[in-house]
């Protein structure tokens, strides 16, 4: 995180004073979304890039959500870290660019975040790839049997 990089050069990052900040309102929004997921099955995505956070505010939010049982990484256009928080059904999706800089940060309140689902096109490609592999293996096997 960029603020962490600042700490390495000795800049003191002040925390958001008590009574200010958006961590608490966002947590209420997460609770509301979690209730909707529980009762109606409707997922929610909260784009944290659209929320005005003060210094240390976003960090406080992420620390409150904590880490849960599952962490996954996508390696495409830079890393993307997808982790379930200590609250089941609440996921943090941290989009990083090719040099590790953050290009997006979202909270997904859902059973499975979209990025973890296999795209339909990839499943079709996988069928074709495996078929081709097995056909090649059969060809090799029959050639060996014919010798």
């Amino acid at each position: 995180m960029n603020v962490d990089r600042l700490k390495s050069i000795g800049v003191v990052v002040e925390e958001v004073p008590a009574g200010a900040g958006n961590a608490l309102p966002v947590l209420h929004e997460v609770l509301h979304a979690l209730r909707r997921l529980s009762e109606d099955g409707d997922p929610t995505i909260i784009d944290l890039r659209a929320i005005p956070f003060g210094p240390g505010d976003e960090q406080a939010l992420l620390e409150t959500l904590g880490e849960g049982e599952i962490t996954a990484t996508l390696d495409s256009l830079g890393r993307t870290e997808i982790r379930e928080t200590r609250y089941h059904g609440v996921w943090v999706v941290d989009y990083l660019g090719p040099d590790g800089e953050r290009v997006g940060l979202q909270i997904e309140v859902t059973e499975v975040p979209g990025l973890l689902r296999t795209p339909a096109g990839d499943i079709g490609d996988a069928v074709a790839a495996l078929q081709e592999r097995l056909a090649a293996a059969e060809d090799t096997s029959s050639q060996e049997n014919n010798r």
Binding site: N2, V3, L6, E14, V16, P17, G19, A20, G21, N22, I45, I46, D47, R49, A50, I51, P52, F53, G54, P55, D57, L74, S76, L77, T80, Y95, G97, P98, D99, E101, R102, V103, G104, Q106, G114, L115, P119, G121, D122
Partner: protein, 352 residues
Amino acid sequence: MTRDLTVGEALRQQGVSRRGFLKFCATTASMMALSPAMVPAVARALEQARRPSVIWLSFQECTGCTESLTRSHAPTIEGLIFDSISLDYHHTLQAASGDAAEKAREQAMHDNHGKYLLVVDGSIPLANPGYSTIAGISNLDMLMETAEGAAAVIAVGTCAAYGGLPQANPNPTGAVSVMDLIKDKPIINVPGCPPIPAVITGVLAHYLTFGTIPELDHLGRPKAYFGTNIHDRCYRRPFYERGEFASTFDDEGARKGWCLYKLGCKGPVTYNACATAKWNGGTSWPVESGHGCIGCSEPAFWDRGGFYQPLSQATMTSGTVLGAAAAAGLAVGVGAALMGRGKHKQAQEEQK
């Protein structure tokens, strides 16, 4: 990337997986300040989008807008968006120079007549065409000639959008903005001194994705980024509500991160996305660094009185003094904010 490929095809050709494409779409939607629910629509549109030709003209400017865009931070998803356009002319960035550069502009205008995007940074001097020329062509002539075949014009930076610093009193060059001259094309103003890089690329991404210009406010700015004022989205707003202000840059209020209104912050009358998009890769923004907003995305911000004068003392462009009760900063601040909002609402109604 060749021009015939769609963005989806080009990304796949570069080895980007379908999940990578989804990531690209999610971060692009975020950059365009769209709801995450719009990501599937963005994905469908980007899958089919073809890269537009872009001609970038720089007039009376300091190159800060180009610097903001190209040197913001390491290559990112925003960089990929920028790669998704065909930048056919930009005299600071292109390798060609002289006649070859001008031929590239003419060729792009000819090949893409009616379809290319024209990006302009810098104001245009009218007092004497010789004040600013490129290849012997006055800024005015080059703008009018190039705008003729453009699908839309994006005025990047406060100089192009509203005249900016060159137009500041006494305006020695007779500087005017793009919209003072172009009346028959859609114009998108992306003001700021400089504008936030993600906002510049977000506007380009919107055109690339949907082939249309985004919804604009009464000053021609995309509402997605300029729809709310700095003050309303400022994390220091709660201190303003409580009447807790820093009065000097080193007093207790400053150390405690209180509201910077009394130190001249123009947040209540400035519409921009700094409070959320931030600067330097999302590290911070002026108010978070302890300095008030100077209102750089508003017309004539240079002539609005001192940057360190509270709004209650600063003179507005209309010549109206908001009030002399600087000590009652809270009350006046509310008035200033309401006045800003009132103007905004009135203009929106006039647009309807």
